[in-house]
Homo-oligomer: 341 residues x 2
Amino acid sequence: MNIIIDAMGGDNAPLAPLQGAAAAVTELGVSITAVGDEALLKKTAQANSISLNGITFVHAADVIGMDEDATDVVRKRPNSSLAIALGLLKEGKGDALVSAGSTGALLVGATLLVGRIKGIKRAAIGSVMPGAENPWMLIDCGANADCRAEQLVQFGVMGSAYMEKVMGVNSPRVSLANNGAEETKGGQLQQEAYALLKESGLNFAGNIEARDIPFGKTDVVVCDGFTGNIILKLEEGVAKMFSGMLKKMFYKNTKTKLAGLAMKSEMGGFKKSFDYSEYGGAPLLGIKRPVIKAHGSSNADAIKNALRQAKTCAEKDVSGAIEAWISQHKQDKKQEGAQDD
Amino acid sequence: MNIIIDAMGGDNAPLAPLQGAAAAVTELGVSITAVGDEALLKKTAQANSISLNGITFVHAADVIGMDEDATDVVRKRPNSSLAIALGLLKEGKGDALVSAGSTGALLVGATLLVGRIKGIKRAAIGSVMPGAENPWMLIDCGANADCRAEQLVQFGVMGSAYMEKVMGVNSPRVSLANNGAEETKGGQLQQEAYALLKESGLNFAGNIEARDIPFGKTDVVVCDGFTGNIILKLEEGVAKMFSGMLKKMFYKNTKTKLAGLAMKSEMGGFKKSFDYSEYGGAPLLGIKRPVIKAHGSSNADAIKNALRQAKTCAEKDVSGAIEAWISQHKQDKKQEGAQDD
């Protein structure tokens, strides 16, 4: 198993990608192809005593910045580490790819250079979120602001495949993010998606209201990318506000400071339970081969976790499971059509 | 000043509405028209020693349940407390109306029986939310799942009028809930709304990302009702999950229990700072006269606060401010049109 990493992507590149790669070689038994400025990579490895055992370099002279406009940037910058890494993935020079660089560039680049699974209308970004009862996948997290109902069903298929194959959930429950529990709730998009999901063959658990989402009573929450971005970022914002207020409360006076000390280990666990980087990076689903977007601020450990996630996606063939479902579903539709005649 | 109350609406009706009404008469110097089953209201008042000073009853034989389908229910149930209360408001028998009953029925009923302000396309539900820096209004919170860009601008006008007149904010900042800060972000709806808001004459502060929403760095957050429902309910859900986890942490062992005791008063303030009932009920904006939806679970105090809010809306003429803006804006448009010719 060989994993390709965009060694220039992310706030802590190239150090964190190199450290993560070295750890992955030792701990996960994979080999790594690291794409980037070869001289810089070698110098960084040497300066930080990082073993290059199991790591192969592929040189890339250019880097795509985090804030560059995503549209077509990968195609216009063929010498960027991301474009070269995606090219290697397409050619089968690796089984999966990890990047902590720009999400938009990765998404557009993966779609253009690696390609979508046959029958998939749009790739989507999934994110495994912590829940009070169980982790669950939010999909789409922001790749597609405007969606059609059919796409939402495909997001359900992708999320279901990921939760089953990577997270080991048997027959994942798929829910539709909506403004009420009843079938008639939502706008036109949600009403149409509800009807399609009901007939989809997925383990559709109906609508989920936003107030129930943090509790994780389902395995996959399906929504358009605009709504997904709102859910993801609002949870992040509320968690940040809570942490700030708690900290202030504990720093108020001597009594509360002592209470804070007594609660220190519990507070650590509390913080961790809202950290959605716990479950690795965000998989780009619907692409022919596994692509993992690690958080921009990933440290070595987060990169290693993303590499593990990429490895699992490849081993369990998540893309293959999605393709099989889509193709089977098409045949079913055709047969139904034939019977109707 | 006379405020009409649907005395049969809400989980704690008719006791809480009666107690709240009596408190409002004493504390706010208003008179109250309480609509409902007169015999029951009188019996409840007597059994609970509630003074009926300043309270007039109008009999209604019927009540609309919390879960009844909203569409046209008010028109089909002319003897319901809500229909009669709205009729009184329309006839000018009161200056404002408060109900803790079904949101859907109140919205449809207010639109049909009292009517929208001239030029307003759709009424919307606003909710003043606690923020780390300042309270802010979320509008629309769920009245209109599918919206057009023009409606979002009108929500901005309504929210701005409310925050200025009722909350005393000078030139309220209006932001558009979006999936990024840049002008080009969002789906078609957000992009169109951004362009219109920029030219609207409102104090438009651009896009606000969901991660910044809880901090309240703006005064009005504008969105379609689907997104508004997601934001409102997700904040509620995350707050509930946090509280549950904190409670569990403090109950873990003797050390943490002692810490919990030390933090008791701080935790009370913490909880309160997430309680969006702090700022009263949710105003239905865009209706000709002030209508306040009190929370279904309102106790006497919450009802009294909603009555105060209704009084302020009437005194400060929020509806008039909205009407004036819309009418002025139309004239501006016409003049622009004339100049263009």
